[in-house]
């Protein structure tokens, strides 16, 4: 799997990150200038709601698949 990275907004160095960890609220630090980037604490409930909706959709698809087979 290709490693994901974003350019540091301060020094443009690539910051490797894991999107699932980012969505859990983990902040990632630039190896060059030590600037850290992450989701703001007040935005975490929004992310959690969206992830829950996504999981529900996945469950619905799985249950529909089981009932059809």
């Amino acid at each position: 799997m290709q490693e994901q990275s974003i350019p540091c907004p301060v020094c443009q160095t690539k910051i490797p990150f894991d999107v699932h960890a980012l969505l859990r609220g983990v902040a990632f630090t630039c190896p060059s200038c030590f600037a850290s980037i992450g989701i703001a604490q007040e935005a975490l409930p929004t992310v959690n709601d969206a992830m829950q909706k996504l999981e529900e959709l996945k469950k619905n698809i799985h249950s529909a698949k089981k009932s059809s087979s």
């Binding site: 974003i6 907004p9 301060v10 999107v19 699932h20 980012l22 969505l23 902040a27 200038c33 030590f34 600037a35 850290s36 980037i37 992450g38 989701i39 703001a40 604490q41 007040e42 935005a43 929004t46 992310v47 969206a50 909706k53 996504l54 959709l57 698809i61």
Partner: protein, 217 residues
Amino acid sequence: MEETTNESYSYSGLDIRDFVKVSLVSIAKAQHALSVEQTRAMLETCFEYDKTTKVHKPIMLTMALTRALVVPADSPNALSTVQHFTSYFAIPLITIMPFNSLGIDVLNLDFNMEVTSQSTTTVNYAHTFTQKQETNCRVNLFGKIVTPPNTKSITPNSADTFGNSGLKIHIEAHAIPLTKGLLSIIDIYSNTLDPVTVNTPPLSETDTDVQISPKTT
């Protein structure tokens, strides 16, 4: 290009081309259903539907960028200090949600067909621009699907075999990249995420606008 065909006699059985065509149409329909579900998932999780304006508005996510800045000392005897400043900016939720597009990647269609009849079709091509005429001869095969003599017993949960008819369909679905249009939108959002330059003297709490706020000392 105009195409005219000339078939001169009757035939019996299943046209092999129609048989393959039906399978491909089924796959296209399955791809369409997967795309529709993915779009629905994106709209439900990453957008808010405004019933009055009937517009899907993107849910924005606040990101925090924290960096350390050295604050020079006020007086010659004092030491410089390091302060952490946090900048906040908003990005659409869809740009970081881990969506993968599930699509059918490989279709293998194996079958044993007993040819019951065949026909030859003469196809005349008339090129519109060059006015040249081309004639090709096409062979059509008709037949029925038969069970090979060495068919093994088939388990009920087999994912790639239908019945005992000598027909074997193997489908592989993989996570494929998002559509080009959606990736373009995400790229545009990403490329416009540049830090905002503040035109007032830096390194002072008084110069911070709504986007920059000191975190800790």
